[in-house]
């Protein structure tokens, strides 16, 4: 079955045992993104690290299909505590990989390279990108804020 190319074991692992799921009480910026065609949702928070304001801590809560859930878990592994430039590089590479314009680069995406199979199913690309687009939105908003946390759940 071609299916295994999209649902690689590593994706199913992240789906069943997501990393970092759960919202923080305090955060610098919070966004809510949805995939209106299927109803997948994510609330993603960025908290600027008090020790180094360029480092962005990630927390999130989501519901949706295995691809969107696994993708958020992978994002947490890759981007939690990272800077905006590092994250933007990863988002850019993920988009290019899903459009089959770049070969998967494990150094940039980690487990995220396992999402490469999604490129065969254009209808699912949005599922794979949902968390990453939310991250980019929240990260930019957070860097526009003062270093102190401004939001509360």
């Amino acid at each position: 079955m071609q299916l295994e190319q999209m649902y690689q074991e590593i994706i199913l692992d992240h789906y069943k045992h997501p990393h970092g799921k759960g919202l923080a009480d305090n955060f610098t910026a919070q966004v809510h993104h949805v995939n209106p065609t299927c109803g997948d949702e994510i609330t993603l928070q960025i908290t600027r690290d008090p020790a180094d304001g360029q480092k962005l801590l990630v927390s999130y809560q989501n519901q949706g299909c295995s691809i969107s859930q696994a993708s958020a878990s992978i994002l947490f592994d890759q981007l939690n505590g990272q800077t905006l430039p590092t994250g933007e590089l990863a988002v850019g590479h993920l988009v290019a990989m899903l459009q089959r314009m770049e070969e998967p680069n494990e150094e940039i995406l980690g487990d995220g390279i396992a999402l490469v199979g999604v490129a065969q199913y254009p209808a699912r690309v949005k599922c794979a990108l949902l968390a990453w687009m939310a991250w980019k939105d929240a990260a930019i908003q957070a860097l526009g804020q003062n270093q102190a946390t401004v939001g509360e759940k």
């Binding site: 299916l3 649902y7 299927c38 109803g39 299909c65 295995s66």
Partner: protein
Amino acid sequence: MSVLDVAAIRKDFPILARTVRDGKKLIYLDSGATSQKPTSVLDAERNFYETHNAAVHRGAHQLAEEATIAFEKARQNIAAFIGAQANDLIFTKNATEAINLIAYSFVNATLKQLRGEALPAGAERFVLVEGDEVVVTEMEHHSNLVPWQELCAKTGAVLKWIGLTDDGRLNYSDLTTVITPRTKVVSFTHQSNLLGSINDVAKITAAARAVDAIVVLDACQSIPHMPVAVSELDVDFITWSGHKMLGPMGIGCLWGRSELLASLPPFISGGSMIETVTMEASTFAPPPQRFEAGVPMAAQAVALSAAVDYLQAIGMDKVASHEHELTKVALATLGDIDGVRILGPTDFTDRGSAVSFVVEGIHPHDVGQVLDSLGIAVRVGHHCAWPVCRRYEVPATTRATFYVYNDLADIHALADGIRQAQEFFGSN
């Protein structure tokens, strides 16, 4: 034994001969979204373009005459399909536009009234004031919800709705509280596109009539699947789409009571909907032309008329009982699978052929993906009826819908596919 010769019918649909996903036979269970088209419909559209193509209702050359005659004959045939007069049938882009046409009639009448302009006789029923009420149901497709939300936002009217019971029916006990003397329009679906429930039109219409409200029926999921007669429904407007009943995309229908149509201001204005035009002002043609600005979709009307012929040759009674049979088997077969929960009525009275379900532990998108890998096309998501998903506390569902070209083997393939999804995701 089916009431239809499905094997013979399938031969009329060229697309059903193709394979998908590495040579899998196509099992199409998404007719609720759009139906496939028989050769006779495709031929009718092609034949129009090859032999009669011209802009209708303008020009006097031979082709223009032929095209106009073909277009108006199509109108007559499609109207007759629901027992209506041709002049009361308006062609729109789709059913969504048909509903918007009615919603905007309220906006336009209200604006005229606010400016102190004279309203045509009868149009005062379309004037809304702050606090007037618009009633829908909680099972509406977004196309029969969002235009009414917009209407309320523009006019200060209040949107109210009839709720749902746990078993997927309308909560008719809401009728007496939801419909009040302030209710100006009641718009509801004949059959839910997600739950499959067929609503009691007479009961709702009676409550609406008691307060003199306009009654709009969304028949997108009923007219393609069962006999529907205007005379038996006693509603004011009926909207439906062509592409869900074997017809082409790009054409929808609005039937309206003639005295109401006559009183309505136009929705979209421009060419061919006028009577006279000067630089200062225009007067408008009578219905249906008043509501058909611009060059209409004549080729699609002719093709939709061919779809009507195709369905009539089968017989709508037979279409309905065939689907009823399939739905019975589907509800029983799917209901037998551990971890599968059906949304919507599980009894067979007033139950159409949309079967929505959730599989415990597997998101509908993932169920759909496994089914797709087996060649089975279903719909996943909220089916443009997001409030229904919210009501039953599911983020989305998987939905199978049936039509004349489906048979029991398709349902067994669906059930097998669901079991494979459970195996694949290790949820069972």
